[in-house]
């Protein structure tokens, strides 16, 4: 087996607690499995855990010592979640202060959204590209994933095969690109589930009602208006 020649920092940036089902974490597991072998070594970091354990500085240092960074996160209000912004904002300051020690050369992003359409993630990918510029790294491409709401529940369903196939292909592309250190431009990858939109909405709506009921709430309580203007 070849010795690792490239290191990728894999940053899991879901704000969800470890006890909750988490699509971003599942994608991180897939990425680590697909990318880390032979010439490529993957170091995993979790933004939430990093704040909880106060390991920001050692994490920032490890990220700067990596050749590449893959950030995996959910879309929040059409861009990056507040927790990830805090992390990247502070990392950017750290990176500027330690620019001479930085090996970080390239950045990739995987953004997943609970809405069916993948294109809704485009602005978030552009934000990661602007962040990359701020740390003097080249943004290579984004993986824009729609239908995140069914990625966990339907992951073994036959109609999801091409969905997950596209994502693993994109991880392969990250691996190849990191090894080659190519500067040739790469296009974003758009991934959507082949599933009827109406059914997706229906399943989502039923899911919310079911969860509320499990929490002891009647159906109409979902529509409470605690801040209604007098």
């Amino acid at each position: 087996m070849n010795k690792p020649v490239r290191t990728i920092a894999l940053l899991s940036a879901s704000p969800k607690g470890s006890g909750l089902p988490c699509v971003s974490r599942m994608f991180c597991n897939m990425a680590a499995e697909r990318i880390a072998y032979g010439e490529v070594c993957v170091h995993r970091f979790d933004v939430r855990a990093c704040f909880a354990e106060k390991t920001e500085e050692s994490t920032y240092r490890a990220m700067l010592e990596s050749d590449a960074l893959l950030v995996v996160f959910p879309l929040y209000f059409f861009c990056l979640p507040g927790m990830l912004m805090r992390f990247l904002q502070d990392f950017s300051v750290f990176a500027k202060a330690h620019a001479a020690e930085s090996r970080l050369n390239r950045v990739y992003a995987l953004v997943n959204c609970g809405f069916p359409e993948a294109g809704i993630n485009e602005e978030a990918v552009r934000v990661v590209a602007r962040f990359s510029a701020s740390v003097q790294a080249s943004f290579r491409f984004g993986i824009l994933v729609g239908g995140g709401g069914m990625a966990l529940g339907a992951k073994d369903a036959p109609f999801m095969k091409s969905y997950f196939g596209s994502i693993t292909d994109a991880f392969d592309q990250i691996r190849i690109d990191t090894i080659s250190f190519s500067e040739a431009p790469l296009a974003n990858v758009y991934v959507e589930a082949k599933f009827p939109r109406k059914l997706y909405f229906l399943a989502g709506d039923l899911g919310w009602k079911h969860t509320a009921k499990k929490n002891g709430l009647p159906k109409k309580a979902l529509r409470r208006q605690p801040y209604k203007r007098d």
Binding site: P74, Y76, F77, M85, R126, V127, L217
Partner: protein
């Protein structure tokens, strides 16, 4: 008319002070009463994506910190104005925490917008008009375009603009209707 102005205490730059002063003058000329709220670093927790605000305490975040007061004051206002430092083309971390945790004000269900994209339906019959005003030193054209795209491409009834000078601010805000709005967001 009540204007609720939310800003980021971490970015009280010279540029911010010019923006705030021009905005307050504009609002005063318009006859608005103004309530200001500045967000300190660490004052608000980040949204944890638990959806408790939809399925445990509908309409209210389950995390007990100042967001309840911020959301209540915003929802009671006629216009809420966010003064947003632009970082990597989007809202700074403090402001993004405010925006992410606005989620309780919407319903969990899905709807299709006229352009075919997805959105959550409104929880309330009416909302304050909302304006995002971005600012920053050494912004590039892409930062400014991205800041506006994030809001304008995906949300109705919310304006986004980038601060350059008082004259432009007055002109742009002068064209806006400072009154509560109904319909989908």
């Amino acid at each position: 008319m009540l204007a609720y102005v939310v800003s980021d205490a971490e970015f009280r730059t010279k540029r911010f002070r010019s923006l705030e002063s021009a905005l307050l003058e504009f609002l005063s000329e318009k006859g608005c009463s103004v309530e200001r709220r500045s967000i300190e670093r660490g004052e608000l927790k980040s949204c944890a994506g638990c959806f408790g605000c939809w399925v445990k305490t509908p309409g209210e975040c389950i995390v007990r910190d100042p967001i309840a007061e911020i959301n209540r004051r915003s929802m009671q206002s006629d216009v809420t104005i966010y003064l947003c430092p632009i970082v990597f083309g989007q809202f700074s971390a403090n402001m993004k925490n405010v925006i992410d945790r606005w989620l309780p004000n919407m319903l969990p269900f899905f709807l299709t917008r006229p352009d075919g994209s997805t959105m959550h339906p409104p929880r309330y019959d009416s909302y304050p008009a909302q304006v995002m005003i971005g600012y920053g030193d050494d912004l590039q054209a892409e930062d400014e375009a991205l800041f506006c795209d994030i809001t304008k491409k995906h949300r109705n009834g919310i304006e986004a603009m980038v601060w350059h000078n008082a004259e432009e601010l007055g002109r742009t805000l002068g064209d806006m209707r400072f009154e509560r709005i109904g319909g989908s967001l």
